[in-house]
Amino acid sequence: MESFKLRQKVDNQMNTNKHAVWRLTWCGLIGRKFLTRAIAPVCCLLLGGMPALGFGQDLAIKAGRIITVNGPAIEDGVILVRAGKITAVGTGLDIPVDLRLIDASDRVVMPGIVDPHSSSGLSQSNERNAVVPFLSVVDGIDPIRSYFEESRRNGVTTAAVVPGNSTMIGGQAAIVKTAGQYVDDMLVVRSAGLKISLQPPSGSRMSHIAKLRAELERAKRALTGDESDGASGESEASESGEDEQTAAGTVDTVAESEEAAAQGSGSTAQANAGSAAAKPSPANSAMQDLLTGKTRAFVYCQNASDVGQAYRLMDEYGFSAILVLGQDCYPAAQEIAKRQTPVILDPELVFWKRDPVTREDEKISLPQKYREAGVKVLFQSNDSESRQSLGTSYFWFQAATAVSYGWSEEEAIAALTVEPAKALGIEDYVGSIAEGRDADLVILTGHPLDLNTWVETTIVDGQVVYERDEDWKLKMLLEADAK
């Protein structure tokens, strides 16, 4: 996707180094809210192995086993890293003297895990207003949030940070690396897709879809140059919004007035977005990028009927999407298989479903259902308080669960690395170990899906960002005496 602004790593390194001190000061002076809310975590991070500023240490990693993902595993191999990139992978490589040697010859090295969908990096993931395509998570990512620390601890090096599932058009996702003190240090793709939710926050699905369609219609009109709605500019929000409603036809009017009645202040913002859609502007570019194929959508589907609606909208308006599936979407697995759409599963992979008529319980295993239908699925983690078990917080556990329901280990590991990278369009940079890829590497004590394996070291862009030896939080959790 052309619009993805892949970051200039080397430039960033320089910037980061030069301005490190200044930035810290700036943070202290200006980021008052930020600081008061997060002073403890800041201290924790600084003490607990926060990556030192400065990217791209040159490394040579001797590995007992390298899981390259795209190719066969390499036994007793070496990975050379320069300026944050992998420069060579193989056996019997000469190790230049200027590289820092990491001896992992009794360890397993795999590519950093790619999290295809998470809202945990945001301090608040949903908006009160239903239509906010102009928002970007880049403005809301909080690098201090425990999500990023947990990610590094668990070997997740790249994450798509996506607005939550409860806002109709929730804003733009971004792809970031999980290490860095400022969002700009972390960015891989600034505008990685528009979040759309098909789950009505209240009211009927009919009106929800009608409202969504009205927004898409408006953006489409603006693209085709049909400005018959007479919008006069962003500043005259409410007035032009009303014009808009009249011109947009019955569906729009019904949807808008219902929206206005239901949400009060929401209508202003929506009208704002609506009028903005009429002319190209930063406010509507996200919608237009979607319709011109410059970016994709992340479409949240609560149930199988939503999947059908998602496909209808994708066909009508010609956009592509990654589907974020709720638990009840599995009856649509056949349809998804036909389309080969990338899909992300609910974090609770196995659950019980009661038949409303017979009251019989049936156990549903999502990895099994989708695999049987021929759908390649991606996982997401759930580190919220609502999770039901420890396992849903860990990608390795999700993958291991899939293996217990019939997946091969290779499929499961690919679903953590190269498959999400492909779905996000960044497979040339992350998700596998090969020459030219970003040096995002995880050094493990054993097989990635083994119960007793721990992440020993996490490397992002050639920078060691996590070391288990220095992880005092983990020590406290595991060793009762350390408390």
């Binding site: 038949d355 917080s393 293996v403 019939g406 959790l477 009762a480 408390k483």
Partner: protein, 437 residues
């Protein structure tokens, strides 16, 4: 009979269909209605069986089955590689490595075999709530009186490998009543091992939860206690009344006569005619619990124990038995206790006997292993240890001759998340068989 009500309210014997083929269920239910009361449930099911599954028939209670496993986990830490088991009449007849297989016995081959899991504390299946809001002391209550043996939750437990479950009253009461132990067979036949397994006490904040002065009490009656001190006082005063001795003299070796009108069930706690279980999670509640236990010379099983790592020495000196529930939740639990994944490993290191209990029991053992518990203790903590703590180790918890044929077959080694559970057998009958998993 109501068609479409899978829960079979009439209480006629009914067996879960491992393949969930409804037609065979229907046959079972209708025949069951007609002949209920004439035939025992076992007889019925050996007749009706599962028309689509030879499994159940092969392993029905009155027949024999031979099981060969590459890994046979006995449950007490011992592993036979390989091992075989002869099941006859619902009991384990023989176990060993290199046993000779008798002729004409159907064979099941599995990778790993372990005893059916024993969940040492669960609130599963109690219909209509397990707490009593009108009184904080209800020693005469029994969960066995309120247990819905057809509750689908029992089936779910069975599916997860749990074959025996200790169903407990709610911790909302200071003295909550009797728990019960039963098999998770969901065929509507009552499979009690103990209908009055033990008396449950709450030495925690739970009994005050609904009585806080800041909120309106839930029931019609305002009841005690409203704080933790009240919990301790109610517990101590009721035990004292049952013991019938002035507190100062409680150190005497023998308790005196009970006060007139003292509750006989509470007297049973003092006389240790049945086991006593006490829910405590924070370290200071655990300390209080054992202070009271010492005063009244009782030996409660500690349930909860989330902060046990802080009081390991106390637990050791009290020779405590612990039903640890700290791994059943991913969060800090009901009392926001401190999270410490290392607690089971710390208990093992100190030699304190513990069982794991609660949701996802097999996964709990896996997490315990990941968090430092040895493989043998992690497996024992969901099989033989809970059976010992509950006093039912002569029936379940190990794969040993004479014990009930409650077995779990796995596609790989038990303590890996990649391992699939293949079937679950209770009393010699395969209850759950998972296809393609």
């Amino acid at each position: 009979m109501q068609i479409g009500d899978g829960r079979n309210r009439s209480g006629t014997p009914r067996r879960w269909d491992p393949k969930r083929v409804r037609s065979s269920n229907r046959v079972g239910m209708q025949v069951g209605t007609v002949v209920a009361g004439i035939l025992s449930s076992l007889m019925l099911w050996s007749l009706v069986g599962d028309s689509d599954s030879t499994w159940a028939q092969d392993s029905a209670a009155n027949s024999r089955v031979w099981i060969e496993a590459s890994e046979l986990h006995v449950g007490n830490g011992e592993v036979l590689r390989p091992g075989s088991v002869l099941v006859e009449n619902g009991k384990i007849q023989a176990v060993g490595s290199g046993l000779e297989r008798p002729d004409g016995v159907p064979v099941l081959e599995v990778f790993a075999l372990m005893p059916g899991l024993v969940d040492a504390a669960s609130d599963v299946g109690v219909s209509g709530g397990a707490g009593e809001v009108t009184s904080e002391v209800t020693p005469d209550f029994q969960v066995s009186a309120a247990l819905d043996v057809n509750d689908p939750a029992l089936q779910r437990l069975c599916d997860s490998g749990v074959t025996t479950v200790h169903v407990t009253p709610s911790s909302d009461n200071v003295i909550a009543g009797f728990s019960g132990v039963l098999k998770t067979r969901g065929d509507g036949t009552t499979r009690w091992l103990h209908q009055q397994a033990g008396m449950w006490l709450s030495m925690c904040n739970d009994p005050t939860a609904r009585n806080s002065s800041r909120s309106r009490p839930e029931g019609l009656y305002v009841r005690q206690p409203t704080n933790r001190m009240g919990v301790v006082w109610i517990l101590r005063s009721r035990l004292h009344a049952a013991a019938g001795t002035p507190l100062a003299e409680m150190d005497a070796a023998n308790p005196g006569e009970a006060a007139p009108g003292a509750d006989p069930n509470l007297r049973g706690v003092i006389d240790k005619t049945f086991p006593t279980y006490a829910v405590s999670r924070t370290s200071y509640d655990i300390e209080t619990l054992y202070r009271i236990a010492d005063e009244f010379k009782i030996e409660p099983v500690l349930v909860g124990g989330h902060e046990a790592y802080k009081v390991v020495d106390l637990l050791k000196s009290e020779n405590a038995r612990v039903i640890f529930t700290g791994l059943s939740t991913s969060t800090n639990g009901p009392e926001r206790t401190e999270l410490c994944w290392g607690t089971p490993a710390r208990l093992e290191e100190a030699g304190v006997t513990f069982a794991l209990a609660g949701d996802g029991l097999l996964n709990q053992a896996r997490w315990a292993r990941r968090f430092g518990v040895s493989e043998s203790v992690a497996l024992a903590a969901i099989t033989s240890r809970p059976a010992e703590i509950l006093g039912i180790s002569d029936r379940v918890g190990r794969i040993a001759p004479g014990l009930d044929a409650d077995l779990v077959a796995l596609g790989g080694t038990p303590l890996q998340a990649t391992t699939a559970l293949e079937w679950v057998m209770i009393d010699g009958i395969v209850q759950i068989k998972t296809e393609g998993r």
